[in-house]
């Protein structure tokens, strides 16, 4: 489904295939280039290489259309408007997901400034999920969450994977990598990917 061949940005160079309904855990020491790789796949930074979705070359479609299908979610999502609901096209549709993640449905009118780091992370995830992208590039999506919220997020993503969404999930937690992913890729200091045996 997602084909990455010789994708190069700064010191990293990566090639791998991500199949439909597959979740890959991406691991490696801090600063090794995991975020750089996900941002390059989403085409958020200049890069070279061949990236295809179902055989269609990334450059053959406008970048916004690509990112709506291959969506990157930062570990600390950014906010550009005053209230939570201003960041959603249809806030009412997002409320069930928001409540499932343990947040009040009324938080749409809250100021973004009053949100905790964990609330921002959960709302950022909902915002990305609302796009119904075919590929999700998740950069430590539970790094600021407690155990219960982490479990809910993992279940929510697993449901999406079962429905056919493909996911690359950066995590430093080996146990989480084993729980959420069917494959694990390790990035070494040279920015190369190595398949980890289960």
């Amino acid at each position: 489904m997602l084909s990455v061949q010789s994708l190069s940005r700064l010191h990293i160079c990566a090639s791998f295939e991500l199949h439909r309904g597959e979740c890959i855990a991406l691991q490696g020491p801090s600063g090794v280039g995991k975020t750089v790789l996900l941002r390059a796949i989403a085409d958020l930074d200049p890069n070279t290489g061949i990236v295809k979705l179902d055989g269609v070359l990334r450059e053959s479609m406008p970048a916004p259309a690509w990112r709506r299908q291959v969506t990157y979610l930062a570990a600390e999502p950014g906010w550009w408007a005053d209230t939570v609901q201003d960041h959603f096209k249809a806030w009412a549709d997002a409320v069930p997901l928001v409540e499932k993640l343990g947040l009040a449905g009324s938080c749409g009118t809250w100021s973004v400034r009053r949100l905790s780091t964990g609330e921002k992370q959960r709302l950022g995830l909902v915002r990305a999920l609302m796009l119904n992208s075919r590929v999700l590039l998740l950069d430590e999506p539970t790094s600021s969450l407690d155990a219960e919220s982490t479990r809910v997020v993992e279940t929510m993503i697993a449901d999406r994977v079962s429905a056919g969404t493909s996911v690359i999930w950066i995590t430093h937690d080996d146990a989480q990598a084993r729980r959420v992913a069917s494959r694990q890729l390790m990035m070494n200091g040279g920015g190369q990917l190595e398949e980890q045996s289960p």
Binding site: E59, P62, A74, G78
Partner: protein, 267 residues
Amino acid sequence: MTYIQLSYGDLILPALLVVMNGALSVALHLRLEWHLAIAAVRMLVQLVLVGYVLTFLFATVSPFWTALAAVAMVLFASREVVARQKRQLRGWWSYGLGASCTLLAAGTVTVFALLTQLRPEPWYHPRYALPILGMILGNTMTGISLGLDVLTNGLVRERASVEASLALGANRYAALLPVMRDALRSGFMPTINAMAAIGLVSLPGMMTGQILSGVEPVDAVKYQLLIMFLIAGGTGLGTLAAVVGAAYLLTDSRHRLRLDRVSSERP
């Protein structure tokens, strides 16, 4: 119309006021005396030179010399736009954007005024064209430099929010719009404030000059109103062009934010 002519000798006494400032700086250890002296000498030399240059231009009424003087003014203005930026665009565009936007805005508005309201003969007469261009340039330059400064600093500060929007499929202009709005507001504010305060807080320099040279106050007011309308138009046009142009240059065709095209903050 009559006016009281000044000789260079008449300026000696008022110049002592600047000397007084220098003495204050020395007495209070402000360490401004050299800056003050250099600024005062620059002002003196620049204004005297400009006086002679304008005298030459008014005598010749040549389209070539008038255009050359206008281009020189635009180049100085664009240099000033760049000098006022905390973070500059890298490479040639640093000057190119400032020069093209000031030229576009101030040039368009000046030609508009010359062709429609003032209608001097010939239309490019330097007695009208250059002072009006100068006044519009000064204000347009301020709007453009403020707009660019707020845009570049805002994009660096709000990088996470801009990239979050891009990552969710927004195009580059939609993603940059909140920062662009702030930049446009900053560029427009000095002109809005000046229009609101004019006549109450201050009498504008041009109007004062006309009154001192014998023009009836009501006629001087008409000229001042014309200039203020032109300044408002020029500043709006220039700031808009500069902010949209910089937003274009700080992104690429793949709708990526390119902060690598901005230099780091100057101390």
